[in-house]
């Protein structure tokens, strides 16, 4: 029976990774459904999760048209590296450059429950690894480097391949500004130690005043820059950015009160 293929944004939840323990008619029906669904959608393979089953089952359509039925796969050896551009039915029309092993060795059970071994290279190795990700409650997102991950997340937001890559090519200055604010606040606190030296208090008052003013300006700059970066990367971060700016403003307020109490 041809089954519907689960697509993004349906999440895996907790229903994945169920070990096949009974090699019975129910399993054989599941395998048949996977084959029918592969044929109907002209796919290379499917993991059981993709048609709604939590079991550790993968069916691969091989080049000669035969099917490789893999239950409870365990990839125990990985050799070499590949960076293929992958696509999967879970993310229709989207691609990503992943990091995969070139050769894998897999121990698995066949449809009769007999333990088998397989050494797969290149395309087949990549395909098994991709399907195996579903059995682990994940997708190929787990195999992207941080830069590719950002690009792919942009694609998920509807940006084209080109835009997804281009728009995010900016430096995250907002993080650096945030670090600067943190150190400035710390400096303000440490500066209060100088109150122990009464002769320096007039200078300290001036220093603390300018420091607090600078922090206020930096918070403003951070807010604007963080919104800009979010917009360029197609990410709505207004909530987070506002919250962070408010937290830093509260820290500044606390420093002001402390100064007012100790110095002014």
């Amino acid at each position: 029976m041809i089954r519907n293929i689960i697509q993004y944004p349906t999440q895996t939840g907790f229903e994945f990774g169920g070990t096949v323990r009974h090699f019975d008619e129910t399993l054989h029906i599941l395998i048949t459904d996977l084959k029918d669904t592969i044929n109907a959608n002209a796919l290379e393979g499917l993991a059981a999760f993709q048609i709604g089953s939590p079991l550790n089952v993968i069916v691969i359509k091989q080049k000669d048209g035969s099917f490789l039925e893999v239950m409870n796969p365990s990839i125990f050896t990985k050799e070499g590296e590949l960076t293929p551009t992958e696509s999967t039915a879970y993310y229709p029309n989207l691609t990503a450059v992943t990091q995969r092993a070139k050769t894998i060795k897999v121990a698995y059970d066949d449809a009769q429950g007999k333990q088998q071994y397989l050494t797969a290279h290149d395309d087949l190795a990549v395909l098994i690894q991709r399907k195996n990700d579903y059995l682990l409650g994940s997708t190929f997102i787990a195999r992207l480097n941080p830069k590719e991950k950002v690009i792919f997340e942009n694609k998920l937001k509807g940006l084209s391949n080109t835009d997804a890559k281009a728009t995010c090519n900016i430096s995250p200055y907002s993080d650096k500004i945030l670090t600067l604010i943190k150190y400035a606040l710390l400096l303000g606190l440490i500066g209060l130690v100088v109150t122990f030296f009464s002769s320096l208090i007039p200078y300290l008052k001036i220093f603390e005043s300018y420091l607090m003013l600078s922090i206020a300006v930096l918070i403003g700059i951070y807010f604007i820059r963080a919104l800009y970066e979010g917009k360029r990367c197609g990410v709505c971060q207004i909530g987070n950015t506002t919250a962070m700016a408010l937290i830093k403003s509260m820290h500044l307020g606390a420093l002001y009160l402390l100064n007012h109490w100790v110095l002014f």
């Binding site: 999440q11 895996t12 939840g13 907790f14 229903e15 994945f16 990774g17 169920g18 070990t19 323990r21 009974h22 090699f23 939590p54 079991l55 409870n72 365990s74 990839i75 125990f76 050896t77 060795k105 121990a107 429950g113 333990q115 071994y117 050494t119 059995l135 682990l136 409650g137 994940s138 787990a142």
Partner: protein, 496 residues
């Protein structure tokens, strides 16, 4: 007055002894027989193994603690059980052999009314040629962190490797030192200790400035990283469900630790191991420093009937662990059920004998059984250490105390690993500000595929996280459990 004899003074035995005494009071006698004079908080041995703790931080003398508690302490090795007594007496007894300096080797017959077997395992180094010395002890080719003494030795060897790496860096030779950590046999358990040790080595190497001069590699009998002898688990991480395999793979990749899995270490030589993979292929791996956990077996008790005939197979499974109320004939993997696992830990032939901790024979594996085409079994055996060992020890003590106080038909307390959750905090580096540890919970320890179809576990009660806070918890637990074991004020309030 009844006498309860507890063989073994580890986590499970110590818990059983101390709670038995607390509940029985002075009306009955509690006797602990253990060959060790010191109690060892084994989870912290890994920190001794990297020089971050001293032996004195992880052990303390048992005698004063038992004296304070009113527990009779026999520093001796239990050798044989006579559950039906002997021809001249029906009273059951065990034969013990002193390990004290002043009475070394002297044997004694110790009668009991109730016997709790909590011996822990025999570290079966000799199961792998070259891992042991042929006399039942660790060999010279590798190190171990299974005991505090082993850990001290491991640290000394590790420091030499760090020193060599430092010199190679200074001399610019670029010669890297190879470190291999993991399991020394296809049927090992306790992957967690090796997991902790490898990441603590990695952490210390960074601190020593020699990380770039080390090739650190993991070798394990797990079919996948993150199996941990429990068939892996699903964890909630940041609101998402993640397989322990992905969790572990990410950690290994992040720390640049390579791995070999599905491996049975078949032979160990000086600087080299031979291993067989799940597909039957055979390989070699060289090393400058290797810490390989040995497989566990029963301690090798003998049991004799009244007439002196050998009845060891009545009390013990072939692997030397004690038979309890488990279903040992469950058959193939597809027939395994949560109910196969014991709940009362009472020996089926002798109602006054119990086993707890590692000493009880599990009905079967937890992980899926795997064999190579050569017929070599390569899979982790079930873990019974840590939290489950303590909980089971306490439940067994409760049952024994009830049988003494309420009669032999008293309801037995249950602590099945198939109905028990467990928390594990695995150190990945020690440091107040730069330490880290992976904290994980799992429920139940043994998957129940009937109650929780699919994964066999209740995912509402599983989570995993790695970070500095985990290290703080691990360090706090170190002090808490030693406090508890020393029976200091409030010890009963600290959970197992």
């Amino acid at each position: 007055m009844a006498r309860v004899v507890i063989m073994g003074g580890g986590v499970s035995g110590h818990t059983a002894a101390t709670f038995s005494k607390k509940w029985l009071g002075d009306e009955h006698e509690v006797v602990v027989v253990t060959p060790n004079s010191q109690w060892n908080w084994i989870p912290s041995n890994i920190w001794v193994g990297v020089g971050q703790m001293q032996k004195k931080d992880v052990v303390f003398p048992l005698a004063p603690v038992y004296e304070k508690a009113g527990i009779v302490y026999k520093q001796a090795l239990a050798k044989a059980i006579h559950p039906n007594g002997k021809e001249s007496s029906d009273k059951p007894f065990i034969v013990i052999e002193s390990t004290k300096k002043d009475s070394l080797g002297q044997t004694e017959e110790l009668e009991y009314d109730y016997l709790i077997n909590a011996t822990g395992p025999k570290l079966n180094f000799d199961a792998t040629p070259g891992l042991g010395n042929g006399k039942g002890q660790m060999g010279t080719n590798t190190v171990s962190v299974c005991t505090a003494e082993h850990a001290i030795h491991a640290n000394l060897e590790l420091k030499q490797v760090f020193e060599k790496a430092k010199k190679a860096k200074e001399n610019g030779t670029g010669e890297k030192q190879k470190i291999l950590v993991g399991t020394g046999h296809g049927m090992c358990t306790c992957q967690g200790a090796a997991f902790e040790y490898i990441f603590n080595i990695e952490h210390e190497a960074k601190k020593a400035g020699v990380r770039d001069m080390l090739d650190i590699k993991w070798i394990s009998n797990e079919a996948f990283l993150g199996d941990f002898g429990m068939g892996g688990l699903h964890m909630k991480v940041g609101g998402y469900a993640v397989s322990s395999k992905l969790f572990a793979e990410s950690l290994y990749a992040e720390r640049n630790v390579e791995w070999i899995i599905g491996a049975h270490t078949s032979k160990v030589e000086d600087g080299k191991i031979e291993y067989e993979l799940l597909d039957g292929t055979k390989h070699e791996e060289t090393f400058d420093f290797a810490m390989l956990i040995p497989p566990f077996s029963g301690v090798g008790f003998k049991a004799y009937d009244k007439d002196g005939s050998d009845i060891t197979d009545v009390l013990f499974a072939p692997n030397g662990f004690m038979k309890v109320d488990a279903k040992y004939d469950a058959g193939a993997y597809e027939n395994w059920k949560a109910s196969d696992w014991p709940s009362t830990y009472q020996n089926p032939s002798f109602s006054n004998i119990f086993a707890c901790g590692i000493a009880f024979a599990p009905p079967h594996l937890i992980s899926k059984p795997m064999t190579s085409p050569n017929g070599t079994a390569i899979n982790p055996t079930p873990p019974r250490t840590g939290m489950p060992a303590g909980i089971i020890g306490k439940a067994v003590a409760h049952s024994v105390c009830d049988m003494i106080k309420k009669g032999k038909d008293a309801h037995l307390h249950e602590a099945s690993m198939a109905e028990m959750g467990a928390a594990c905090v695995a150190s990945a580096g020690k440091g107040i500000l730069d330490g880290s540890a992976a904290a994980m919970t799992v429920y139940p320890v043994v998957p129940d595929f009937e109650k929780y179809p699919g994964t066999g576990r209740d995912t509402d009660y599983t989570f995993g996280e790695i970070g500095l806070a985990g290290h703080w918890i691990k360090h706090i637990l170190h002090h808490m459990f030693i406090w508890k074991a020393k029976l200091k004020p409030g010890w009963t309030f600290i959970p197992e």
